[in-house]
């Protein structure tokens, strides 16, 4: 367990080296936040829509802008790259569980982006626009929900990367993952704006667990326990699936020598 904590710390430090990139990313988040806020205010400004008034819509936009970096919504292809080059063999023969190790590192990365990419945009939104703060009781639930969002996001990214064990070039799958996640997670428009049937379909996928669920928990929309339950369910399913996939992949690498 200690070694995983070390890995998390290393992840934190690794990302803190890319300051320029972090600040550029923050500026990008804020820029999109401003654009999205304008559109959302135009939508809900006259009358609340589907439970969103202006302060709630502003909070929705800026939390989304912050969370997308925290959960690394656009994906990462580092593991896929290591699989393609064959370097992954080194990773597989280390005395760790690769999935757990990568998750530990991701927690470190997320920890760093919490300070640079999640909190600052939320503060910018709160300073510039009417902003809804959560009820006191919602804070700890939001923290849990954000962490579960990270687990689900990591679980999806791990599975997508792992396809590289079987596909020569997994970039197609990766780009599909990015598109599907950003479409169905509730980033563009709150999922409650969708027609009821579409909401049912969307909530049957893991994607809302990444952005919409933590925001719902924060805004105390709907029973918070259903959002958290949805997240927990997918966190477990994806983690187990990742474990099984990794097992098969290891067998493949060991038998076929990569």
């Amino acid at each position: 367990m200690r070694s995983y904590a070390q890995l998390a710390l290393a992840g934190f430090r690794r990302y803190s080296n890319y300051r320029q990139a972090m600040f550029a990313g923050l500026a990008a988040n804020v820029m999109f936040g401003l654009l999205r806020t304008a559109v959302m205010i135009a939508v809900v400004g006259a009358a609340p829509v589907a439970g969103y008034d202006v302060p709630a819509a502003v909070a929705y936009v800026w939390l989304g802008q912050g969370l997308l970096a925290f959960v690394q919504l656009w994906g990462d292809a580092r593991l896929a790259g290591r699989i393609r080059t064959g370097d992954v063999v080194v990773d597989l023969y280390r005395p760790w569980h690769l999935q757990a190790a990568l998750f530990a590192e991701d927690v470190g990365r997320a920890g760093f982006s919490l300070f640079v990419r999640l909190v600052p945009p939320v503060l910018v939104g709160a300073l510039l626009f009417p902003f809804q703060w959560p009820e006191v009781a919602a804070w700890p639930l939001f923290a849990v929900s954000a962490l579960l969002a990270l687990v689900v996001s990591f679980g999806l990214r791990f599975l997508v990367n792992a396809t590289a064990f079987w596909l020569l070039d997994s970039r197609g799958v990766e780009s599909f993952h990015v598109v599907a996640t950003s479409a169905f997670c509730g980033l563009g428009v709150p999922l409650s704006f969708f027609p009821d049937w579409a909401q049912d379909v969307l909530w049957a996928t893991p994607f809302p667990a990444i952005i919409q669920a933590p925001i719902d928990v924060y805004l105390s929309h709907d029973p918070q326990w259903t959002a958290l339950g949805h997240q927990l369910f997918w966190a477990v399913v994806l983690s187990v699936a990742g474990h099984l996939v990794l097992q098969r992949a290891v067998r493949k690498v060991v038998v076929q020598g990569g």
Binding site: M31, V43, F176, S182
Partner: protein
């Protein structure tokens, strides 16, 4: 550009890409899908409200289609500039400097991401839909406007792309900043500029001349007056704005490369 060098470079890139067929097809589809998703967002919004910034659903879809098509073309032509930080880091840019051609066209032709064609296709289909669902007074002039607008928009977006990416010569790690400007201007132009306000509108509509990608030509096509009081001729000058933007981009690029060769790595 009079000779056949650039077509040759582009053709070479296409041959290279075709060696990964499945991935190519998936990415092409993914791009079309991505473009469609943004349309879904607009439609979902309009399932809850009747107007946005004073514009109806079919009008906003028209603006979005103009913007999306123009952005798709620009991505096809100028999207390779996203690789510039990598070129600078690995010294590939130096290799370009060792050839008897300009660096900007070389970078732009260094890869043609044909998969972005998916985005253009989705944009054109949406445009066809929007054109048939709006009340447009068809004349040779409006037809010309429909053809020219996405092209002028593509030039404007490409210019924005060049300027944004030229920042890499100073800040090698700041690619996301460039993305914010390029993709941000795409998002901005997909909605009527009446939705925005203050300095954000002034900056994105006129400094980055985003208002000329879809908004003003769209007004002219729909025969609507500008709710913000802009004169009617603004709808017809997008090609001039595009030309000016391209000149500025060329100058900025020259300045940036001069800085690179002066400061180096």
């Amino acid at each position: 550009m009079g000779d056949r060098i650039y077509p040759k470079l582009v053709a070479a890139r296409l041959r290279g890409q075709m060696s990964y067929r499945v991935s190519f097809a998936l990415e092409c589809l993914g791009q079309a899908f991505a473009q469609a998703i943004e349309l879904v967002v607009i439609l979902v919004v309009f399932s809850r409200v009747d107007a946005l910034g004073g514009f109806s659903a079919s009008e906003v879809v028209l603006l979005y289609a103009f913007a999306g098509t123009a952005f798709g073309i620009a991505d096809l032509v100028a999207g390779q500039l996203n690789e510039l930080p990598d070129y600078i880091r690995t010294g590939k840019f130096d290799v370009l400097l060792l050839r008897p051609l300009g660096t900007l066209p070389q970078v732009m032709a260094s890869d043609v991401r044909l998969r972005r064609a998916g985005r253009v296709a989705a944009g054109i289909i949406t445009m066809a839909f929007a054109l048939t669902h709006n009340d447009i007074a068809w004349s040779p002039w409006t037809v010309l406007l429909v053809v020219v607008t996405p092209l002028a928009g593509a030039v404007i977006f490409s210019a924005v792309w060049i300027v944004a990416c030229a920042v890499s010569f100073w800040l090698v790690e700041a690619q996301e900043l460039a993305n914010a400007v390029t993709h941000g201007s795409n998002s901005f132009t997909s909605y009527p500029i009446t939705v925005y306000s203050g300095w954000l509108r002034r900056f994105m509509a006129f400094v980055v001349p985003g208002a000329f990608v879809a908004y003003y030509p769209g007004l002219a096509l729909l025969g609507r007056a500008d709710p913000l009081g802009g004169p009617a001729f603004l709808g017809w000058i997008a090609p001039l704005v595009a030309l000016a933007a391209a000149c500025v981009a060329g100058l900025v690029w020259r300045f940036a490369v001069r800085h690179y060769r002066g400061t180096g790595s």
